[in-house]
């Protein structure tokens, strides 16, 4: 099998399920912050004591952070391809406008640059959109379950089910094919 060209690599990466290291770190940092927020709520509203509850808090935040980061990655993979298709013409216009006066640049080079740019734009947009979507969905499900569905359940079980359960549900929803 022959070596892939740069253009082919970029094209492949736009369909790739893997995320860059920077993107993955961003997902984990976001997931950690979002998983810690409910713990403050349980500390304040349900008056869970730090000394009694830190093990449960640690379990809840680690599992929730992992699940949320996974959901973000899944969601990004779904969104990225759609965004490449949507933003393609706009990115082509930007590249054509930018290099219109550059007579030295060949059409192939312009196409290559447009492909890079499309991938870059889609990567950024899908990262932001997946974080927004995943966070919003998780926080909504978590609040509804913690304060309505499981309002009368003991705080420890309420915390575990409402945080990890909601994160698991968000992961499940992010595994949709389309």
């Amino acid at each position: 099998m022959g070596k892939l060209t740069k253009e082919e690599e970029v094209l492949l990466s736009s369909y790739s399920a893997s995320s860059s290291t920077k993107g993955t770190l961003f997902f984990y940092a976001n997931a950690l912050v979002i998983s810690l927020a409910p713990i403050y709520l349980f500390y304040g509203v349900h008056q869970m004591e730090i000394a009694d509850s830190w093990v449960v808090w640690a379990l809840s935040s680690i599992s929730t952070a992992y699940l949320l980061a996974l959901a973000c990655k899944n969601q990004k993979r779904l969104l990225k391809h759609q965004i490449v298709m949507k933003r393609g013409p706009a990115v082509d216009r930007e590249i054509n406008g930018k290099y219109a006066s550059d007579k030295k640049m060949t059409t192939k080079e312009k196409e290559e640059r447009a492909l890079f740019r499309k991938n870059e734009v889609a990567d950024t947009e899908s990262t932001y959109l997946s974080i927004f979507y995943t966070n919003t969905l998780f926080l909504t499900i978590m609040l509804a379950s913690a304060f309505f569905l499981l309002a009368n359940v003991a705080p420890i079980f309420n915390l575990l089910i409402s945080t990890s359960g909601s994160a698991a549900l968000v992961v499940f929803l992010s595994t949709a094919k389309n």
Binding site: N30, V33, I34, L36, A37, P38, Y40, L41, G44, V45, H46, Q47, K86, R87, P89, A90, V91, E94, V121, T124, E125, T127, Y128, L129, I131, F132, N135, T136, L139
Partner: protein, 180 residues
């Protein structure tokens, strides 16, 4: 041996006749003013004869100018409580305003059916750590359900979420989809 027998005789005489034990419990979840609060009285006869004309009096705990009694009574008479028998009585009161819980002994007067002696027993109430009938607003403060907690929660959770949405919308406006 004689000493032992005389001691046994003393204990036997203590248990002889009707012997009532009284308990008063607050059984509502929270002590709330302007709400129904349920108190439960339990009288158990541990003696070997019946208690008759058993009069439970707890009116001092619920003065009529500060409480409305919805059901039951703070002054009630039971005709007879047999040996090893028990009666339970509930009183539902509404404190007219937030106030201190009055801790007064419950007094039970009764007559021993066998010896016809008049006896009195009293007990302190058990109100599970409450010392006031609180207003609903004060109870929310005690329970910790406070908007401040939700505001801090939002301050932790929202910046990343909102920033992501803003960056996304900025990118969308930079690369608009032209309608044909």
């Amino acid at each position: 041996m004689q000493l032992l027998l005389s001691l046994l005789a003393v204990f036997a005489s203590v248990d002889a006749g009707a012997k009532l034990l009284v308990g008063k419990n607050f059984i509502s979840k929270y002590a709330l003013a302007s709400n129904e609060n349920v108190f439960e009285y339990e009288i158990i006869n541990k003696g070997d004869s019946a208690a008759i004309n058993v009069v439970l009096d707890d009116r001092e705990s619920f003065p009529s100018d500060r409480f409305a009694i919805l059901s039951g009574s703070a002054h009630v008479t039971f005709a007879k409580i047999p040996p090893n028998g028990a009666v339970v009585h509930h009183v539902v009161v509404v404190p007219l305003e937030p106030q201190e819980i009055i801790i007064k002994d419950v007094i039970v007067d009764y007559t021993d059916a066998k010896s016809k002696d008049l006896k009195r027993v009293s007990a302190s109430p058990l109100v599970r750590g409450y010392d006031h009938f609180l207003s609903e607003k004060a109870l929310k403060g005690v329970l910790g359900v406070h908007p401040r907690h939700f505001l801090i929660f939002a301050a932790i959770a929202l910046p990343l979420t909102v920033t992501s949405a803003l960056f996304y919308s900025r990118s969308v406006s930079r690369f608009p989809i032209k309608k044909r």
